[in-house]
């Protein structure tokens, strides 16, 4: 390995700062942090350097430790694994396969079943690539069309296929999911429906757990998005370690403490084949809350490299309010409904009051009392869902 030896000060590239290697840093970074003997090939979080072996074993260990520490899986449970195009799913499958194939007593004991959710018309070639990749890890694979599920949700047998050719025969044309004219509401609904789909398919296939390939950036983005939509009470469900809103199925994000660089390198060093699609490349048009926040977090991360991990860790420390544990569930997102007690004023009631006073000023002026203003109780939908329910056609 050759490198130039002159010092590189911080460089301004566009508006962002690239952390180039300074001469002083090079001395610290000439040996792997872990084994202290090999030459490092990767630097993570701008400060930790690892050789290839230590990096790969560290990643595998982090994955297994996460599953073990959180007591997520009981022996031989079936686990539904959501496959998406891009880096994270492939890493997830490889980590699963490696952990299952260990010859030691520490090997993972669970049975993954993979599912791919087709959200737009796919070329058969693209679906074949997915089939090849998943089968190379020796896992069973199912295909489902997103829009068909939403229309015929009750009858999973009609929309769930073990073979992509069958899916294409039955549904050659798959429309993109576009429920509404509001990009935020569309993406929010998409996420809610996807969650519902995974939960139902899991039950159908006898799984007790679902793994989704969200990485740290996704968790941080979802956390801030949930806050922006008024879902603060449900952060432990939306972005926590486990989503337990369904009594039978737990949704888990085992890659939540991995970042995009880690997984990209993991895949390169393991020579893994990815599946990519031109439709999935980030567009950065920021018209929805989700996209705006994704861009914001990615940019902030460049200048404040602890941003994503800090937000994810904050999310880890939150809990559900004890009073909601036995409530009815929101009809849309299935989170437990909060009681809107009339003793304390909260932002939801204040907003309702603003709407009321803007229309009913004359009524208020009659006796200047608030008696005519009724505090809304949330019986059907949670605060956030009640705002997008008008966008749902059915």
């Amino acid at each position: 390995m050759t490198c130039s030896h002159h010092a590189v000060p911080f460089r301004m590239v566009g508006k962002n700062i690239w952390f180039g290697l300074s001469l002083r840093d090079k001395k610290k970074w000439d040996k792997c942090n872990k084994c202290k003997s090999n030459v490092p090939v990767i630097i993570l979080r701008h400060k930790d350097v690892y050789c290839k072996e230590c990096f790969l074993s560290g990643a595998a260990h982090k994955f297994k430790a996460f599953i073990g520490k959180n007591h997520l899986v009981k022996k031989n449970d079936f686990v539904l694994v959501c496959f998406r195009s891009g880096h994270s799913s492939v890493s997830l499958l490889h980590m699963l396969r490696s952990a299952l194939d260990l010859q030691t007593p520490k090997k993972l004991k669970l049975r993954p079943i993979v599912i791919y959710i087709a959200k737009a018309t796919c070329e058969p070639q693209f679906l074949k690539e997915i089939e090849d990749v998943v089968c190379s890890f020796n896992f069973p694979l199912y295909f489902i069309s997103f829009n068909q599920y939403i229309s015929n949700g009750q009858e999973l047998d009609k929309v769930l296929f073990a073979n992509f050719r069958q899916m294409l025969e039955n549904y050659p044309q798959i429309n993109s999911f576009k429920r509404t004219n509001n990009p935020t509401a569309t993406q929010t609904l998409e996420r809610i429906y996807e969650q519902q789909l995974l939960t139902e398919v899991a039950k159908h296939l006898n799984c007790s757990i679902v793994f989704v390939p969200d990485i740290s950036l996704n968790v941080a983005t979802n956390l801030l998005t949930s806050i922006s939509l008024g879902r603060g009470a449900y952060l432990p469900l939306d972005t926590g370690i486990c989503d337990t809103r369904d009594p039978q199925i737990t949704i888990v994000r085992p890659l939540r403490h991995f970042d995009d660089k880690e997984l990209a390198f993991y895949n390169v060093y393991n020579k893994l084949k990815l599946v990519v699609s031109p439709n999935e490349i980030k567009k950065f048009n920021n018209t929805s809350v989700q996209d705006l926040i994704d861009t914001f977090v990615s940019n902030l991360q460049l200048n404040y490299p602890a941003t994503i991990t800090t937000v994810v860790r904050t999310g880890d420390k939150l809990a559900l309010d004890k009073t909601v544990l036995k409530s009815k569930a929101c009809n849309l997102c299935k989170a437990p409904l909060l009681n809107n007690t009339s003793e304390e004023l909260n932002s939801a009631t204040a907003t309702d009051f603003s709407r009321w006073i803007s229309a009913q000023l004359q009524i208020f002026k009659k006796d200047e009392s608030f008696n005519e203003f009724e505090i809304k109780q949330r019986e059907l939908y949670c605060y956030a869902c009640s705002k997008i329910i008008e966008f749902v056609e059915k």
Binding site: L223, I227, S228, V289, K317, L345, N346, A350, L361, F370
Partner: protein, 355 residues
């Protein structure tokens, strides 16, 4: 021209950013003021015969707050005695003009005014502090000092409560900032409309404008022809808060009700019982409420006075270490032992193993 949605028969002349309703001027005033009245009554912010100090900076928030409190106090007989309290940080060009505005408020609203300066309270102006500390962490100093200054001023005036002009945008921004910085303790407290209520002899602070949009405050001030001073603090641009503000502004463009959503989220967040948060105690030097043995203001001041301007910036756990290292370095000079107000005396654990 659409009709006013409050059904008064008049033509609408503006669109409320908060709800999108088209209102005429008078109905906008009524709605704006009534919402604040609702907040005050529903949250029982005040009791009759209270003396309330309004934190006055001369900016739009405090000007509107003073105007509306005076109006509501009269209209609904709150029975309050209102005074203006203003802090002079000693920032040339910024504070001089805003203080003039506050004096104008005093005259226009006929309220007594008390001005306290950082120089009086701490012995340093912000200009002098920035010279020592630079422009990256100066906001930490200003924020901490201002908070204490308001409390000290309120105690001097013997008021029952302090009213600040924090608006919905401020609170939403603070929620975002605390999430980004992982400050769970502050995140838990920052949406509270009354703070400092239970902590012994702290004077409670209230935020009557908690649910009032900044845009509407500007509109209200404009249509009511209220005088205020509007410039950004000259030292402000480097604060981390600016990132949270930018995000909030971008979110507001997508949907203004997101501001209320964020506040609602902040109110609904619960921290897991397993997480340990710093508990509140009293500063061993000045008695002010603090999460550490020494309150932040005392630490920062000590840093300035000793020529350690970075003391108090960064981890609190390092403060003791730095002070003791410095004490060790000065052991041969008796300056430390003889100094009356040496903070080391107040550090409970004075015996440190110095290698």
């Amino acid at each position: 021209m659409p009709k006013c949605s409050a059904k008064c028969g008049n033509k609408a002349i503006l669109k409320r950013p908060k709800t999108g309703d088209a209102l005429c001027k008078e109905c906008f005033f009524d709605a704006f003021e009534t919402e604040i009245h609702y907040t005050i009554t529903k949250c029982t912010l005040f009791k009759p015969n209270m003396t309330v100090a309004i934190a006055a900076s001369g900016g739009k928030d405090s000007t509107v707050l003073a105007y509306v409190l005076k109006l509501l106090n009269k209209k609904y007989n709150y029975g309050l005695k209102l005074v203006l309290l203003s802090i002079d940080e000693g920032i040339t060009g910024y504070r001089d003009d805003s203080l003039n505005t506050v004096k104008q408020n005093r005259d226009d609203y006929e309220m007594p005014l008390k001005i306290l300066s950082y120089k009086d309270l701490y012995g340093w102006t912000m200009d002098e502090i920035v010279e020592k500390v630079g422009r990256k962490n100066n906001c930490t100093f200003c924020g901490v000092f201002r908070r204490q200054a308001l409390d000290r001023g309120a105690a001097l005036l013997k008021v029952d409560c302090i009213a600040t002009g924090h608006n919905a945008d401020d609170i939403a921004e603070t929620v975002l900032m605390n999430v980004l910085r992982g400050d769970l303790a502050r995140l838990k407290r920052c949406t509270a409309i009354i703070t400092g209520n239970g902590s012994g002899d702290g004077i409670p602070r209230v935020k009557p404008l908690k649910y009032t949009f900044e845009k509407e405050i500007v509109m209200y001030a404009y249509f009511r022809k209220l005088l205020y001073f509007s410039t950004e603090c000259v030292f402000a641009p480097n604060a981390y808060r600016g990132h949270a503000r930018m995000l909030l502004k971008d979110l507001e463009k997508i949907d203004p009700t997101i501001i209320m959503n964020i506040i609602y989220s902040g109110e609904s967040i619960r921290v897991s019982e397993n997480t340990s948060l710093p508990s509140l105690t009293n500063c061993t030097n000045c008695g002010y409420v603090s999460s550490q043995q020494l309150c932040k203001a005392c630490v920062l001041l000590e840093g300035l006075n000793r020529g350690l301007p970075r003391l108090g910036i960064g981890k609190s756990s390092r403060v003791k270490q730095i002070l003791t290292e410095e004490k060790y370095n000065n052991l041969n000079s008796n300056s430390c032992v003889e100094a009356k107000n040496c903070l080391c005396k107040n550090l409970k654990d004075n015996s440190v193993n110095l290698k």
